[in-house]
Symmetry: C2
Subunit: 197 residues, 2 copies
């Protein structure tokens, strides 16, 4: 059986995704775990701490998703797998993306974590695009173009769900496929073999 800390995080994630972060209190979380609020506070002092820990999980998922394959050549397939993986993560932790602006506004520590990760992450994306170029998958491009492609990928990667949800109707996992298609649409014109189209 998972340890208590892990169980608290798992149940919090489910409740946040189902009801939205603002509508879930630590009491709701304790209740769903048949745990006393005191026991929960022993592990996490407040909801913000739980959210930060879940964001740490997201960062680990991203690091894993975007790690370059060891001893294997980069292919268009690699890019496709990364794009699909990115939106799998966005779906799994969807509360975070839906409530992004609110969460960052409410917790300066989380905002700092998010911003540090985004800065490093965007630099990594530029480096990854350079690997695509070096592998002959992508047309050479100047720094400004690579920066703009990176910003578009991150904008879609962080806010596709918000845009989709603003359009109305129930969100579902299949909505993530359109996010993957938008990643491809951003990259397609820059790839040498136009297989991404």
């Amino acid at each position: 059986m998972a340890d208590t800390r892990t169980r608290i995080l798992d149940v919090s994630l489910t409740l946040f995704n189902e009801r939205g972060t603002a509508n879930v209190t630590t009491n709701h979380i304790a209740e769903a775990l048949c745990m006393s609020p005191g026991n929960l506070y022993y592990h996490f002092r407040n909801k913000a701490e739980i959210v930060r820990e879940l964001f740490a999980r997201i960062m680990l998922c991203w690091a894993d998703n975007y790690a370059l394959p060891q001893d294997k050549a980069l292919t268009l397939k690699t890019i496709d797998v990364m794009a699909a993986g990115n939106f799998e993560i966005q779906w799994r932790y969807r509360f975070f993306f839906r409530d992004l602006a609110l969460l960052l506004g409410a917790d300066p520590k989380l905002a700092e974590l998010y911003r540090g990760n985004r800065e490093t992450g965007m630099a990594n994306t530029v480096a990854l695009l350079r690997d695509f170029i070096a592998s002959g998958l992508m047309h050479p491009a100047d720094r400004k173009t690579l920066d703009e492609i990176t910003q578009l990928l991150w904008l879609v990667g962080d806010l596709w769900l918000v845009f989709r949800e603003a359009g109305g109707g129930e969100l579902c996992k299949a909505d993530m496929d359109q996010g993957v298609r938008l990643f491809r649409r951003i990259l397609a014109p820059h790839m040498i073999k136009d297989k991404l189209k």
Copy 2:
């Protein structure tokens, strides 16, 4: 001197932009106008009504910005002017874009207006891209590609500010220039003369 209704809308826009919609009440608005709350209520029953009226202004600005020039050929310059105009509007009404998810969640009537406008607007964008193609400015593209380009333009057009703000630091008008550059980055690979780069 502007009529009372117009003055209420102008002052509301300024306060919403400065403080965020959530931190402004109708009492604050009345106070800033040296007006009794009763007088304000005579014109607008609540804050939601003011926000909806401001959104109606945004829709008018958009319609004006994206109207095709009469008796004039479409040029790359037209596209540049439209892109710049789009982010002028986003900056002038920035409260709306920053608080988009919150505002739509709080007012079903506003959500309906926004969604109706977005649906029509996205169809108009596809039609505009087809005009670009017909004018020899853009490479022919299938419907799926045009839809994806349109979604990217709308995602950046609606959420660039949110993405920018999540990155930290004070927002300023110059941040809008990067939005314009992202519009160009989305369109550039599809244009026949690569002047947009």
